[in-house]
Amino acid sequence: MSNQRIKPAVTMAEIRPELTRLRRRGLLRSALSLGALTLLTGCDLSTHSGVDAALEAMLRFDDRVQAALFSRQRLAPTYPASAITRPFRFNAYYAEWQVRLVPDNWALHVGGRVAARRPWTLPALAALPQQGQITRHICIEGWSQIGQWSGVPLGTFLRRVGADLSARYVAFKCFDGYSTSIDMASALQPQTILALDFEAKPLAPQWGAPLRLRIPTKLGFKSAKNLEAIEVTNKYPGGYWEDQGYDWFAGV
């Protein structure tokens, strides 16, 4: 009788299959939520890491092909003012109501492989030679629209700050949390500008006030808005979308 009382209600042998089954289900659940998490953050190229690695290797190969195809002399087509798309579509990694206003005492910071690191105010940038363009902005999603921007050619600016023009990358940081980077050859293409104006008026906040990159030889996500810092570097800087799997070169 007493012997029966100390006998456990279930033995380990009886519950082992159930425990194993539960443990398996737990693994599966965590695998599913991991998959869901990567999908939500947009990090997922596919569900198989081997396929992921192969796709990433192909994107690096595509980057090399694109760099070889790129010519600094080849210009993006320009259009007459009558071709400008109106209304112009707002696009960012956030909704239009979340547009950030320009911080007080805004200045453009310059860093990395440059001789002159002093920050640039908007009037100082406006005093540099300006250049306008009416070009097609092509989004990675496939849609496109024609807009008008003007500002300082990036090549002019980089020479003015004594940048190392043999460096590999120019990286852009934005006060809205965005970031991107481009190759030096594309940075020096004459249509790559630090835009101050959109449609002949100073940039409004939703168009990237007070200063944005406008680069018609790359997909739209490279034309970073709301700039706050530029860095010239040899270390691969990546960027907001590039880190999630968009191809880095993104030339058109």
Binding site: R74, Q244, G245, Y246
Partner: protein, 208 residues
């Protein structure tokens, strides 16, 4: 080539069979990742069902599209080179005369058209030449919308970026339409599937 050799030639040479199935895989990757890319910014008032997309999201779909394009390109170039060099195009894919097409189309619609493996009737020739031209056009429009600045001359030839993108979508529908008809014909004549997998003797046109 003697009469005997012609009769013993397989319905589809090994090279054609290998390139066919590589092409099926590459084109499948291109179509299903393309649907996912289309869904990011649909230019027609519908979306492809999410489960048909390849890549999981726009970035993944583009990675598939910009990877599989090289496989399709290599396969296509190899096929064209083989087709011209081996005499496959000259022998098997002569553009038919309109009267032949009408005759064979009428017979096909009455289910009276004979299939001789290794020989294409006029309707088959029209469809096969058509899909080869469509895939070449697809590669051209694809290049035009991937590199509208670096290949600006090509994009210009195809009436600019937005129209080239529209042609790229339309040509996809044409290719998918071909695939549906092609698979339906294989379902009606299942022995042709075997001839695209293993070596099967070609049939003389008189034997059936």
């Amino acid at each position: 080539m003697s009469r005997r050799e012609i009769l013993h030639r397989p319905a589809h040479p090994a090279a054609i069979r290998v390139m066919h199935w590589i092409g099926v895989y590459a084109m499948g990757c291109m179509i299903f990742s393309g649907w996912e890319i289309y869904n990011a910014s649909p230019s027609l008032p519908f979306l492809f069902p999410a489960w048909t997309g390849l890549g999981g999201w726009l970035g993944g779909a583009l990675a598939w599209h910009l990877s599989a394009m090289w496989l399709l390109f290599a396969d296509g170039i190899a096929y064209l080179a083989y087709g011209f060099a081996s005499g496959h195009f000259r022998r098997d894919l002569q553009p038919p005369r309109p009267a032949e097409v009408l005759h064979d189309l009428e017979a096909a619609l009455r289910f009276r058209l004979k299939v001789h493996m290794g020989h294409y009737n006029a309707v088959q020739r029209v469809l096969y030449i058509g899909v080869i031209v469509a895939i070449i056009l697809q590669a051209m429009t694809g290049l035009a919308i991937w590199k509208p600045v670096q290949f600006g001359w090509l994009t210009g030839l195809l009436f600019g970026y937005p129209i080239a993108r529209g042609i790229h979508l339309g040509t996809m529908f044409a290719i998918v339409g071909f695939v549906l008809v092609h698979v339906l014909m294989v379902a009606i004549h299942p022995r042709t599937l075997r001839s695209m997998i293993v070596a099967v003797p070609s049939e003389s046109e008189e034997s059936r």
